[in-house]
């Protein structure tokens, strides 16, 4: 059994997805979905422990040895990613039930389909992470993308449909580019296995085909991870999707795309080719910086808080890409650590916002006056998530920001370090706007608003407390992240 954990990691949610479509609406289907994601969390934890203790796990699918068969390959980097995705997946599914029953645009008898789409999305994300096969990445990417288009379109606002359609077009272009890139690699090397590709590419790396493949993959993945200026699909998609979907996608989908990017750049092409021959860091660095700065500024002027957080996500993705462009262990550590920490903070923020809009019916800032007094627990979680986003010490957000600062100073990039701090101040401004309105503006006249139900509060606070816990106990988001970074760069940790 324990040998088959890598397969089970993907298979369990994959089987649970069609099963849940057979259920009647009600609690049972939710329990099934929760059990499936809970199990994948358990497996992810076991896998991480196993990898940290024994090193890389290679699992041949169906007994076909690599490079002929599909290989699942787990090292420190993707075991860490599996943990992030399955953890958020589990917390959000707990949160989702109340919203699904009352707040999404599905007739009641179709409600189980939400869980089908959700589990398929989870399957796709986990599959992209765990697989050791380049074409398999594409397959799982499509599974997760298609299901996420469906999930986004379930938002109650009709604009969710156009947002979903916009994402569909952009996402498909991205996926196509990735497919073209993988195809070109296959043409040149005759293999799809990632380790095999890594071994064979140096021999042909001077060719124009490989360079073209590199370019296609870069653009395709950048679309999926919403790197500035390819981020235009993201704000609408996040703003109009149902709140559990936003929380889930914001915390996982772009992160997995970043992981795929790291896999391609560092493992398949190798840091030498990607950053010395192709000089990718010279492209990533300015894009990351402009993204961080412009998205933070735009976030300040949003009146819809959900949209504001969406822009903030674009900025945070910039931080992660900035870490990549440092091409050092410290820089990559900050990226990986921020993948984890950002999942925690944005998960908390979007879920807290979900609680608020569940009660007041909107996420627009000027309707949130006085919410802090009537929903103290919800706003408490929001403040914790916000502090973590700003990077206040004792929260998880501080850890990644610390590594990012150290990484930039290691390189002697002064202006970059200053800009990172300046943009943290922008985060202070846009979070504080919400806090001020919620706590200090008098509540408007109207029907009394109550605290969110426990079913929503418990998962929200679970993540909020995780923000504090991982700000203090940093063995996972600092030590493991460092080992994962070392694994990606191929150096001793």
């Amino acid at each position: 059994m324990i040998d088959h954990l890598p397969a089970l990691q993907v298979v369990i949610p994959l089987i649970a997805a069609p099963l849940s479509a057979l259920f009647r609406p009600g609690r049972a289907v939710w329990v099934l979905a929760m059990a499936a994601s809970g199990l994948s969390l358990l497996i992810a934890i076991l896998l991480l422990r196993q990898v940290l203790a024994q090193g890389v796990i290679s699992y041949p699918m169906g007994g076909w040895a690599p490079p002929w068969g599909i290989e699942y390959r787990v090292d420190a980097a993707n075991a860490f990613m599996l943990l992030i995705v399955s953890m958020i997946g589990t917390v959000v599914i707990v949160f989702a039930r109340t919203i699904v029953e009352q707040r999404i645009r599905l007739p009641e008898h179709k409600q189980p389909w939400f869980y089908t789409a959700y589990l398929l999305c989870l399957t796709g994300l986990l599959g992209m992470i765990i697989t050791g096969d380049a074409f398999n990445i594409f397959v799982f990417l499509e599974i997760s993308s298609l299901s996420s288009y469906v999930l986004i379109s379930l938002g109650r606002d009709r604009r969710a449909l156009t947002a979903s359609y916009q994402y569909l077009i952009m996402g498909t272009i991205g996926a196509t580019f990735i497919l073209i890139g993988i195809g070109l690699l296959y043409v040149m090397t005759g293999t799809l296995n990632i380790m095999d590709l890594a071994a064979r590419i140096p021999a042909v790396s001077g060719t124009r085909t490989i360079r073209a493949a590199f370019a296609f993959l870069t653009v395709g993945v950048s679309l999926k991870l919403a790197l500035f200026p390819l981020h235009l699909w993201l704000p609408n998609a996040y703003a109009y999707a149902p709140s559990p979907v936003t929380a889930f996608l914001a915390a996982t989908a772009t992160k997995v795309a970043i992981y795929v990017m790291l896999r391609f750049f560092f493992t398949i092409f190798g840091a030498e080719f990607s950053f010395n021959t192709m000089q990718l860091d010279r492209i990533l660095l300015p894009l990351a910086l402009i993204g961080i700065f412009s998205a933070s500024v735009v976030a300040i002027f949003q009146t819809n808080v959900k949209r504001m957080l969406a822009y903030s996500s674009v900025a945070q993705i910039g931080y992660m890409i900035l870490g990549v462009s440092l091409v050092s262990v410290t820089g990559l550590t900050s990226t990986l650590s921020h993948l984890f920490n950002h999942a925690l903070m944005k998960g908390t923020l979007f879920m807290a916002l979900g609680c608020i809009s569940f009660r007041i019916g909107t996420a627009s800032l000027n309707r949130m006056a006085g919410v802090g007094r009537v929903m103290p627990w919800t706003m408490g979680a929001f403040v914790i998530g916000g502090l973590s986003l700003i990077g206040a010490p004792l929260t998880a957000g501080f850890v990644s920001k610390w590594y990012l600062m150290v990484g930039t100073l290691e390189k002697g990039w002064w202006p970059v370090a200053v800009l990172v701090l300046l943009t943290s101040l922008l985060a202070v401004i846009y979070i504080w706007r919400v806090v001020e309105v919620a706590y200090f503006k008098p509540a408007p006249e109207g029907p009394a608003v109550r605290e969110a139900p426990l079913a929503l509060l418990i998962p929200t606070w679970t993540l909020a407390l995780a923000n504090l816990y991982f700000g203090v106990e940093t063995s996972l988001n600092a030590d493991v992240a460092r080992r994962a970074a070392a694994a990606l760069l191929g150096v001793a940790p």
Partner: protein
């Protein structure tokens, strides 16, 4: 009990009191009782650390790791002992005063007030006992955040604006400059621990030293070095007990204290004096001292005048640090304690006057001293201590600072200190003089009595404290001497 356990207890008591304060929301007497009791407990706890520190002990506690190699660390050393002692000594007095003031003025949200106050004290204790720069930074930010609700206590648009300025400047400078400086230090030195003699010597050279020093000095916005001093006068919209403890003691002194810590334990006095990197800082401090005094002269609002006086007096501490001599360091450190005692007296008096008469402008206070002799008497003592006349505590810090300028051969700085003392006389003494000698205006004649006893007793005690400090300066010198040993 071991000193390590005592150290943790000192941090824990104010935090725990927050819980009791909130729990007794409905019962004000119990709530205030919890505040008073925990403030006395804290005083006892901090006092019990003193013998160990005097004997040369440096109790240290590691709480947990932020990132590998960097822990949340608490260490007691003489400088921190002084600051913690000041904060712990003035909290009980201030609590007593708060009760009189808050009840006398029927302020709202009193539970929030006392709870935030306790968190602020806990942060101040954390700053005092911080064992490395990052720990200091954590508690520094906690202090900013916990005092924000106190500054905006009234909830008026004016208070909100002041709160935004307060938060904006303090968070902006600390994240923008201080954090950058800390990361830079970590990057070049590989450690952040406060170490006697400093950690930077030999690790960094040339103009970079002066730049790093500038990042620290302007990053510690609580020290109110010009041009980042605007938050201090703005924060005076807070209720007077807040202004008293937080803006004469905890917040601004946390800034001054952090400046001292950085100069003594991160750069090292020798390193600064050999590189001369702190020359510019001396001039900025001198400018702050003189300009803020001049601005204070022009203020008619009593609290605003005291606020600018604070900006100027904080400049003394920075100047002491920038002189980079033993005497300067001792004088600056003493100034933390001496100024705290004097300034809290003045603020208490301002609050007592407001409680009794609802007057805030100096020009309205003619003749009030005859109706409120204790308050104005205490005001006079506090003012004289700030000016630096014996037999009051303030004279010692001025004395050592003057000695420091002589040691460093900075005659211009000596002149600045002397001129500033004259300016202090010019903006503080007329207030007392008006109270006692000016003829009363017609509405000041009848019906004015001293403020409630809970207000008057603390201010008399702190005035007495100014006198006592004069005679106990020797003990303070003994405590601080190891800091300045080279």
């Amino acid at each position: 009990m071991s000193s390590e356990a005592t150290l943790l207890l000192a941090l824990f008591i104010p935090l725990a009191s927050t819980f009791f304060i909130v729990a007794n929301h409905a019962c004000p007497d119990w709530r205030e009782g919890a505040t008073l009791l925990s403030s006395l407990l804290l005083l006892g706890t901090v006092a019990s650390l003193l013998p160990d520190v005097l004997a040369g002990g440096r109790p240290t506690v590691h709480l947990f790791e932020f990132v590998p190699g960097l822990t949340l660390q608490l260490t007691v050393e003489p400088l921190g002992m002084t600051f913690a002692g000041v904060a712990a000594l003035l909290w009980p007095l201030n609590s007593l005063y708060s009760i009189g003031y808050m009840r006398g003025n029927h302020e709202s949200h009193q539970t929030r007030f006392y709870a935030c106050f306790a968190v602020a004290i806990a942060s101040a204790i954390g700053i005092a006992f911080a064992g490395n720069l990052l720990t200091l930074f954590v508690f520094y930010e906690a202090l900013t955040l916990s005092t924000y609700p106190l500054v905006t206590h009234k909830g008026t648009p004016e208070a909100m604006r002041a709160g935004r300025l307060y938060l904006g400047i303090l968070l902006g400078t600390s994240i923008g400059f201080l954090l950058l400086a800390i990361v830079w230090t970590w990057q070049v030195a590989g450690v952040l621990d406060f170490t006697p003699g400093g950690i930077l010597a030999g690790k960094i050279e040339g103009p970079a030293v002066a730049i790093l020093l500038a990042l620290y000095m302007f990053g510690i916005g609580k020290a109110a070095l010009m041009p980042f001093h605007r938050w201090l006068p703005a924060a005076m919209v807070a209720p007077t007990p807040v202004s008293a403890l937080l803006h004469a003691v905890a917040v601004v002194k946390a800034g001054a204290f952090a400046v001292m810590k950085v100069v003594v334990y991160v750069f090292g006095v020798d390193f600064l004096s050999t590189t001369g990197a702190s020359q510019w800082l001396m001039w900025v401090a001198a400018l702050t001292i003189l300009l803020a005094s001049c601005v204070a002269l022009a203020q008619d609002n009593l609290k605003a005048r005291l606020a600018y006086s604070t900006v100027s007096q904080l400049g003394y501490v920075v100047l002491g640090a920038a002189l980079a001599t033993s005497m300067g360091v001792i004088g600056g450190s003493m100034q933390i304690a001496m100024h705290a005692m004097g300034k809290i007296t003045l603020f208490f008096c301002a609050g007592a006057i407001y409680t009794a008469t609802h007057k805030t402008e100096i020009s309205q206070m003619d003749g009030l001293g005859r109706a409120m002799p204790f308050t104005f008497g205490a005001f006079l003592i506090g003012a004289l201590s700030i000016v630096g006349l014996p037999p009051l505590g303030g004279s010692w810090s001025k004395w050592y600072l003057l000695a420091g300028t002589a040691d460093a051969g900075q005659w211009a700085m000596m002149a600045v200190l002397l001129i500033s003392s004259l300016l202090n006389v010019a903006y503080l003494l007329p207030i007392a003089a008006r109270g006692f000698f000016a003829p009363s205006t017609h509405d000041n004649e009848a019906g004015i009595r001293e403020a409630p006893l809970a207000c008057v007793v603390p201010l008399c005690l702190t005035a007495l404290g100014c006198v006592l400090l004069f005679f106990s300066a020797d003990a303070l010198y003994t405590l601080l001497a190891p800091v300045a040993a080279r």
